[in-house]
């Protein structure tokens, strides 16, 4: 049976300063299907969804809904046209009841004049929940519901609203719906989705490829802002899909492979059976001097939480950490800092810098003790330290008194690096070293990373792309679902291909 198109993108294009998020491609979504949308971070999935929900306007091409071009001013308008999105964090207000959340802003359907008929609202809520096969008491406070239940309330709300606005085939977008769910709940979710798809379109965005393959009718792969391909479920294969998602040419010399040094045998950090309850299973590994160790894994693999433990912003529930052979305890960032472990965060504007303050303040913030003379901070020493490290990391700025908020992403990253180098950090945890940095600056960062290794520093990195991880590291740890599943060596002359790694990741 020929399926009708519900949404069509023609040559859809979206550009941001410095990056083309959507390169101009075509994509069709049909009625009564579950569409799985896959792609790495930065592939363009969320940009596309934001256009669908009216948060962004395209810079080129067309967005057609039921055959007509549409322009939405915001998510409310999109909902009124039958397109709604359920986010990972959820938009449910925890202090309101299920009923109140379901019908927020639509109370007039149940009111006479100023007064709302609570009983009518509750009855309608009960009906809507039952229709979706949910056993939730409409008078419960949403703060008391589990994440799974909250998600179901959101889905119910969107479907109810579509019916209210009389839309035949609502489009429901689910962004990473299963990340917070237990296995049983995942099963329930997909049962419900299968029921919903009889009169709606569901767009599933998830990094969990097995789930997508199992539950989607059709799978579309995006990469680097472009449409790669699509396939029906029967033809879908995990390896094939991952390859399509990440396959890129490895350019010779890229990532400054020729500058890669061999690690020395000295163990600077050892992790033994480190675990975080329900997030990370006991993991052990070592880090050597001059070594760059990459942590690779999908979202939910536990790698982010692992490095947070090493940096002190999260606490492990079991296991131990050894620094230069001695056991240490890291319960807060200042402990990590005391052991010369530095953390360069993924979001440098929010977690790495004080954007109101100037470059000097940011570079010097860890080392004021060293900049004192006769008991007080010495301005001369401050300036010297700041300009020295600015020179080392090559920050392009007119003076050390420039406010960090005014620097480019690349320069901000360098200031953060300078801060940790000034503090003589020996181990650096680098969370997405080149996120949000343009191509030219990226190369400089790679150069810095190579230099640091040469000078005896050790690094644990997590990169934006698998290629970057492979290219930069000496050795790679692969994590999946909270466990270490493989360890791969990446010497400069024999870098593994991404396809080899993918097997372990998925």
């Amino acid at each position: 049976m020929e399926k009708k198109k519900i949404i069509e993108f023609k040559g859809i294009r979206k550009v941001f300063p410095g990056v083309v998020a959507l390169k101009g491609f075509d994509l069709v979504m049909y009625e009564k299907e579950i569409l799985g949308l896959v792609g790495e971070n930065g592939a363009g999935k969320s940009t596309l969804m934001k256009i669908m929900t009216g948060n962004y306007q395209p810079d080129g091409g067309q967005f057609l809904l039921r055959g007509e071009p549409v322009v939405f001013g915001g998510s409310m308008e999109a909902i009124e046209h039958g397109i709604g999105m359920v986010f990972q964090e959820g938009s449910i207000l925890p202090n309101l009841t299920v009923t109140e959340n379901l019908f927020l802003c639509h109370e007039k359907e149940f009111s006479k004049g100023w007064f709302i008929s609570e009983s009518a609202m509750v009855a309608e809520a009960r009906k809507a929940l039952e229709e979706n096969g949910l056993d939730i008491n409409p008078t419960t406070l949403c703060g008391d519901l589990s994440p799974a239940q909250r998600q179901m309330v959101e889905i119910t709300r969107l479907l109810w609203l579509s019916r209210l606005y009389r839309h035949e085939n609502p489009v429901l977008i689910l962004d990473e719906p299963t990340t917070v769910l237990l296995e049983k709940e995942i099963k329930t979710l997909f049962e419900i989705l299968n029921r919903i798809k009889e009169h709606a379109t569901v767009v599933l965005i998830s990094h969990r490829l097995e789930e997508i393959i199992e539950n989607s009718d059709r799978i579309v792969v995006l990469k680097d802002g472009d449409y790669v391909t699509e396939m029906p479920r029967e033809e879908a294969d995990i390896f094939k899909i991952e390859q399509l998602m990440v396959g890129r040419d490895m350019v010779e010399g890229y990532y400054r492979r020729n500058e890669q040094v061999d690690p020395i045998d000295t163990v600077v950090l050892e992790v033994r059976d480190l675990a975080i309850e329900s997030i990370l299973e006991p993991i052990s590994f070592t880090l050597h001097k001059c070594e760059i160790l990459a942590l690779v894994g999908l979202i939910g693999s536990g790698k982010e939480e692992l490095v947070k433990c090493l940096g002190g912003s999260m606490q492990a529930t079991h296991g131990s950490i050894y620094r230069n052979g001695k056991r240490i305890s890291i319960k807060q960032p200042k402990h990590a800092i005391a052991h010369a472990i530095g953390y360069i965060p993924i979001d440098r504007r929010i977690e790495g810098l004080a954007t109101d303050l100037d470059i000097a303040d940011n570079i010097n913030m860890l080392v004021y003790k060293k900049l004192k003379s006769r008991g007080f901070i010495n301005k001369r020493k401050e300036q010297d330290n700041a300009t020295h490290w600015m020179g080392v990391v090559k920050v392009k700025a007119t003076s050390h008194r420039m406010k960090c908020g005014n620097l480019s992403g690349g320069n901000q990253q360098k200031v953060v690096l300078g801060k940790w180098l000034s503090a003589d950090a020996e181990i650096l945890i680098v969370d997405h070293p080149t996120r949000g940095i343009d191509v030219g600056a990226k190369d400089e960062i790679y150069h810095h990373i190579r230099q640091l290794a040469k000078q005896g520093k050790s690094m644990i990195i997590m990169c934006d792309t698998l290629e970057e991880d492979i290219g930069l590291c000496n050795r790679m740890l692969i994590l999946k679902d909270g466990k270490k599943v493989n360890e791969v060596s990446c010497p400069p002359e024999a870098k593994p291909a991404p396809t080899d790694i993918i097997e372990s990741i998925v």
Partner: protein, 342 residues
């Protein structure tokens, strides 16, 4: 962030969930202000023991209810702004200016005015306008409410003194005082008025769109806005409503004392905030309601009454109230919501 304290907090919460699950626990949870009722009971117990039963004499209870009326009205006013997640420190200033206006517009010994019952809508208008300004400063000029309302309080207080030339104005229209002093079936009329106001607000909070949206904003302003709640409009309305109620309180103060002065606004903020916190309205917003405001006020007034009866040094009252305020907030603040406490 696991520390020694969070571990003991964990044990506490396990204990809590065990108790919650039991039958007693279920009963406790089904009554909205059960915690506060128990606190009131404890206060009553302590003070009746301390005063040999005098505390619980009918006449004293009536006194407490009568004393609680005006603070209750103020608490009912300000707690709604707190449910929104904002703050309103302009209470004293708005009461000052409405009190002084009432003093000058009602029949008095200084001017020739005699507006009589029209004063009721007039004070509500004046208070409401001041409240609207608060709302506008917060929504349109995007100023943090606690400093903008603080500034408004100072401004309005100054204006009140200027208008009244710093002195008190005796009232000649005695009707109002008669009503204030009167009783209805043995219960002070003012208290009944306060309870009626509480009832009106209770209905508004639970049965109208304004109420539901107010709670949505308090729960999470960004999400509420995304869902289509007209945040600015609601905030301005609530600030305005709060101002109107302050105006009513100002009028009642004038009526009770049969004169008006700008200083009548003084020392009203602290007890109102304490009542809000003790009643269980969370400073983070989105939690609590008229019931909490009512019982919170009764507890605070009863507490102070008990202190007086037990002849505890009157100057200790500020200290006791200070400790109660801090403790009440410590217990009710939702630490998960406020990532950063300033």
């Amino acid at each position: 962030m696991k520390t020694k304290n969070s571990r003991s907090l964990e044990n506490l919460s396990t204990l809590r969930s065990k108790v919650s699950a039991s039958a007693v626990g279920k009963l406790y949870h089904s009554i909205p202000i059960s915690g506060q009722i128990i606190s009131l009971g404890i206060v009553a117990l302590i003070f009746s023991l301390g005063t040999n039963g005098q505390f619980l004499h009918v006449s004293n209870i009536m006194t407490v209810l009568g004393l609680s009326a005006i603070p209750m009205i103020l608490c009912l006013a300000v707690h709604q702004v707190i449910i929104l997640g904002a703050m309103d420190l302009s209470l004293e200033g708005i009461v000052a200016i409405t009190a002084v206006s009432a003093g000058l517009l009602l029949k008095n010994s200084v001017t020739g005015n005699d507006v009589g019952l029209w004063i009721i809508p007039i004070v509500m208008l004046i208070g409401g306008l001041a409240g609207l300004v608060n709302g506008l400063l917060n929504t349109k000029l995007r100023m943090p409410s606690f400093i903008s309302t603080l500034g408004m309080s100072w401004t309005l207080f100054g204006v009140a003194i200027m208008i009244s030339k710093g002195s008190s104005i005796p009232l000649r229209d005695l009707r109002f005082q008669k009503v204030i002093i009167s009783e209805f079936l043995g219960i002070p009329t003012v208290f009944i008025l306060a309870i009626l106001l509480g009832l009106v607000l209770y209905i508004m909070q639970n049965k109208t769109k304004l109420g539901k949206h107010m709670y949505a904003i308090g729960g999470n302003e960004i999400l509420a806005k995304q869902a289509g709640v007209k945040v600015d409009r609601i905030k301005i309305s609530i600030f305005g409503l709060t101002g109107m109620i302050y105006g009513l309180a100002g009028l009642l103060l004038v009526a009770r004392l049969n004169s008006s002065a700008a200083r009548y606004g003084n020392n009203l903020l602290f007890p109102a905030m304490t009542a809000v916190a003790v009643g269980g309205v969370s400073l983070s917003g989105g939690v609590g309601g008229a019931l909490n405001a009512v019982i919170g006020t009764i507890i605070v007034v009863a507490l102070n009454n008990g202190l007086v009866l037990m002849q505890i040094n009157p100057y200790m009252q500020s200290a006791v109230n200070g400790i109660v305020l801090i403790s009440a907030v410590a217990l009710t603040i939702d630490r998960n919501k406020i990532g950063i406490i300033k």
